[in-house]
Structures are given as C-alpha cells and as structure tokens.
C-alpha cells in the first residue's frame, strides 16, 4: 500500500479545498510554513480520516472542533471532509470497487458549496445515490473518506460506498496507522515516549507485533 493523495475541505483551518499529491515511488515530502499556518492540522486530517476518535489527540474539546469554524471575514462551514487515496496492485475491482478522479472532484464540489449545503433542486438522498453510483476507484486504488456534519452526523466511505468507521479501522489494522500509532508522530509526542511508563512502551511494540 502506498500513499497517493490527500484531499481535504472544511477541515480545521482549510476552508478551501486543499490537495497533496505524492509521487510514484516513495520519498520525503516536507511541509513547511510559519507558526499557526496549518501544518499540524494536515497531520490531524490524516489521523482523522484513518479513524482517530480521541478528541484530545486532535487538540479539540469536541469532535465538532475539526470543522472550519470561521474567521472574521468568513462564515463557519457545515461540513468537514478528508479523503485519503492509497494504491496497492493487490486490490481488485471486486474487492473494493473503483473511483475515477472526476467523481472524486464532484464529491469535493459538494462540500465546497456554502455551509456544505447541497445546491440545486435534487433531494439529498437522490443526489447521494447518483454520486455513489458513479464513484468508482481505478483498479488498485483505495479511497478512504470521512465526513463530519455540524449536526454531529458522521459518514465514512470506502471507494465512494458508505461504510462503518470500523471498516476503515480494520483496513489499517497492523499497518501502524491505527490509534496509538507509531507511524503518526504528533508535535510534542517525541518527548513523551521516553518519559512514558514501561507498559506504554510495551503497547507500542504490541501495536507493531
């Protein structure tokens, strides 16, 4: 499994659509910028789309805190959405379905409209059903999407199909990308590893075992 792309909109300070592409064949991607510009928010988005449920790990006091809550110039949004695209030649059309880049853009257009509202005359269930029908990943691609509405409703998608949070968490079991992960090291966590108790360190090893 290799990382291909991250997209987000309405997540914390990213009220506008943001995308990070990852080149074929691994490598190091640096994320830079001044204090408070949004770098750690990107790390939070990655942890969140993989199923992070601990509000504390995301530096909030409630899960609603991950939705863009506005500035003096801009209104808060009604929806936070993050999509993670991974590629693995082993995935087949039958096992997880497919999604084409065009449909994925549409999914983000929906979120981009004011307060994440659906515009136009379609009723929500019809539009969503139509979208799901066309949301087909390429072979070997897995797209994980998480949405949170201001109402508190949560949705999870695997290649455009609604699924449960557990399906996403199970997909990444044993890859180090679960909670208490050794693959996502948040700001300030490095210092804690050495001051943590012997049993905490055991859990780190067990996660990988």
């Amino acid at each position: 499994l290799r990382l291909s792309r991250i997209q987000m909109i309405g997540f914390k300070s990213f009220c506008e659509k943001a995308e990070i592409m990852f080149a074929e064949g691994a490598g190091v991607t640096a994320i830079v910028g001044p204090n408070g510009c949004g770098k750690s928010n990107i790390a939070d988005a990655i942890a969140w789309v993989l199923g992070e449920q601990s509000v504390k790990s995301l530096r909030g006091s409630s899960m609603e805190d991950v939705i863009f809550n506005g500035t003096r110039e801009r209104q808060p949004m009604g929806l936070a959405q993050v999509s993670l695209t991974l590629v693995d030649p082993e995935f087949t059309r039958e096992s997880v379905g497919e999604v084409s880049p065009v449909e994925q853009e549409e999914m983000f257009e929906e979120a981009a409209s004011p307060a994440g509202q659906l515009s136009g005359s379609e009723s929500e269930p019809a539009a969503v059903a139509r979208r799901r029908k066309r949301f087909e990943p390429k072979p070997g691609e897995v797209v994980v999407t998480r949405k949170l509405y201001r109402s508190g409703e949560s949705e999870y998608y695997l290649n455009g199909r609604l699924c449960r949070l557990r399906d996403i968490q199970e997909l990444f079991l044993g890859t180090g990308l679960g909670p208490n992960s050794y693959a996502i090291i948040e700001q300030g966590r490095v210092g804690q590893i050495l001051s943590s108790k012997p049993m905490d360190r055991r859990m780190l090893i067990e996660e990988a075992a």
Binding site: F22, I185, L204
Partner: protein, 151 residues
Amino acid sequence: SRQQFQEAFECINEYFRETFKQLFGGGSGSMELTDATDLQQSGIDLQVQPPGKKLQNVLLLSGGEKALTAIALLLAIFRYQPSPFCVLDEVDAPLDEANVDRFSRMIATLSGETHFIVITHNKKTMEIARAMYGVTMQEAGVSKLVSVRFE
C-alpha cells in the same frame, strides 16, 4: 500472542541497536524487559548510553538526547513493520545541527520504501525532501497549500 510479542521485541531491539548507533554516531541503546520471567505482562525499559558516556538513568539525558533516542525507537518499530507512510511533526525541533544531519539522512534512506511526510522548520531536513509543500495563511485563519518543489 506471546510468541508474536517475543519475536517483535527481539527483532525491533536489533533494529533499535542499529538506528541508535547511526543517529548518535556511536554509543549503544537497547530495550530491556522489566520482568524477563513474565513475557505476558512485562513492561519495557530503555538502556541508553550516548557515545563515550556511561550507562545512566535515561531521565538524566538531555532534551536532544531523549528526542533522538525516541526517534531511534520509533524508526526501529517502523523498519520491523513499515506502514504505507509515516508522518513526523517537528520531531527535529530539539536537535542540534549534527544530529539533524544524521536524522535527515536516515529518513532519506528509509524513504526508499515508504513515504515520509515531515513537518519541519529546519533547513537541513528540508534539503533531503523530494517534494515540499508550503502552507500559508495570507488571509488570516485560512490555510492554503502551495507546492514549492516537486520532482
């Protein structure tokens, strides 16, 4: 399972010894079971000795030495069970120039197999990146991504 843990422990310990030596440019670091008789319940302690120094309580290490030791452990776990990608948020902050240099070169080597996403303020770390994204807030409170470098 108990056998899985034992296997992981010994293998990661071996990697830890290697990554420690590489990041510190010497010295020795290893994990020890707090209770070798009880593999189910035992915790894990760290025995750490920076180059030329004596084995001491790991609490007495400096801020930078603690960070580097933790990084060595994390990367050892990572080598044992690589994940599709790894996100490191300002782990190089407490490191001096020599240590950042060794750290960034190790990341560059490990990234042959896996994507590393490194959030940093450090120029040396930026140098080993194939791609770089700048995050800006031209408009206060609104983040935008800019691709600064892309091979």
